[in-house]
Each structure stands twice: as C-alpha cells, then as structure tokens.
C-alpha cells in the first residue's frame, strides 16, 4: 500500500486548509464576534492575545504562508490554552481530580490537544504543494 504515500502531500495540504479555517473560527469568535458565540467577545488580556494569535496565524497556516513559523506560534498558544483552561479544570464547575486533569475527554480539552499536535506536525512538514512560500 506504499503507493498511497504519493498522495500524502496533497492530503496534508487539504487538511492544513481545513484545520486552519477551523482555527480562524476560534479567533473570529473572540475578536470579530463572527461566528457568534455565547461567550461573546474576548475582554481579558489573555483572551485578546489568544484571539489575535488565532486570527493571525490561521490564515497563514491555511494558505501556507510562513507556515512553520505560524504553526509553531499557534501550537504553543494551544498548549498554553490547554494547560490554562482544561488542565487547571476551568472548564469544569468543580475542582478537578487527578484523572480529570490528565484525560482530555474529561476536562473537555480535546480540541486544544488536537490543534496543538496538528500544528506541531505542520511545523515539521511544511511542503511545497499548496504553499505560497516554502521555507
């Protein structure tokens, strides 16, 4: 099945666009208010920083401009988001147990984990196909 590897680059680039645009929604919610969210616009300094990083990096990642740099920043931001909100139990309404700290399915931190690792993958696999600038 090694012939499938020939399509890896193509599939990777499609995924980068999809993930980048989903990331754009997160930033848009915090800064632009679109798509609308129940939490409303970001007001805290941390929320605003996160929103601008998300909004700035998402399009760079989606369209492959300075991909590695943007993906590195976005990946770090998602790691911070996971530890600040999910790991510390802010998404739950009670003090987290050890198990709730460690398992993303319990602390609702699956999305930050997935984003973080997808972007880490993008840091190491910026490819020529579909990227505006390959560096």
């Amino acid at each position: 099945m090694i012939w499938l590897n020939g399509y890896t680059d193509t599939v990777y680039c499609i995924i980068r666009v999809v993930v980048g645009l989903m990331f754009a929604c997160q930033g848009g919610q915090k800064i632009l208010g679109f798509p609308p969210s129940e939490r409303g616009l970001a007001t805290t300094p941390i929320g605003l920083t996160a929103g601008w990083i998300e909004l700035g990096c998402c399009f760079l990642i989606a369209f492959g401009l300075l991909t590695r740099l943007a993906a590195f920043i976005a990946s770090g931001e998602m790691a911070v988001a996971y530890f600040l909100t999910s790991f510390s139990g802010k998404t739950l309404n009670h003090a987290p147990s050890v198990l709730e700290r460690l398992l993303p399915i319990l602390n609702k931190g699956e999305l930050p984990v997935l984003f973080c690792f997808m972007f880490l993958l993008a840091v190491s696999t910026a490819r020529v196909v579909g990227a505006l600038i390959h560096c």
Partner: protein, 149 residues
Amino acid sequence: MNSLNRFADPFYCITRLIVGLMFASHGGQLVLGMFGGMPGSDNMMMQVGGWIQLVGGLVIAFGLLTRLAAFICSGEMAVAYFMIHVANAPTPMAKFFPISSAGPQVSNKGELAIFYCWFFLFVVFYGPGRWSIDAWLRKGKTAAATPTT
C-alpha cells in the same frame, strides 16, 4: 528550515498515539460506559460506532494495520458528522459552522468529528510511521515503511 523535516516522522508518531488514544476513549464512553458514559448511547448505530472507535482508536494508536483501521475510522467520523451533527442542526448557519464553543443556533459542534476524520485520512495516506507495530513487524522485509523527505 528544511532541517525541521527530520522531525516529521517522530512528531507524526506521537500525534498518532495521542489522537488514537483520545479516539479510543470516546469508544470507551459509548460502549463500556467509561468516563461517565454518554446519553443516548444505547441504540444499535451508536454501539457499532462505539466499537469502531474503541478498537480502531487503540489499533491506530499503536500502529497495527494502521492504514486499514484509519480508513474505517475516517469513514465512521464522516458518517457521524453528517448523520448526527449536520442532520440535527436546526439552522442553515448551524449546518455550515462546526465550532464547538458556539450555541446550537450557529454551530453543529462537529469540530472534533471533522478533526478526527481528516487526521485519520492523513494517516491512511501517510502510513504507520517509524514507531509502530506495523514497522516493527515489517522490519527486515522492506527497507522503510514511509519515505523520509
């Protein structure tokens, strides 16, 4: 910065392990009632989906029959997105946006399903990677399971 490409395969293998385990924990939630269980998991389709997630997630995490398992899981997540998330969305806007943190009027909350679907599609094409049972079984038969660029 092409020197960073040498980290692609190790990063990929770590990602595959973590994503596989998170996927399996959803299966455990549906089938075994772990992590508090999930409401509405007692119908036939959810049970079938749960077993695919549990077995497929573990098999992908450790890299056994990776491409086949990832193909099945990717298809299952596409079905889950369209049959559950999109089908239950009340407004046209909610049918389009998958964001998890928005309300039901604007979002179908299918972001995780999309994520798993595309990541597993990537796994189908990329293959098991160097740290996997597949690569360990194949050692000696073929030189390399994946190209290193």
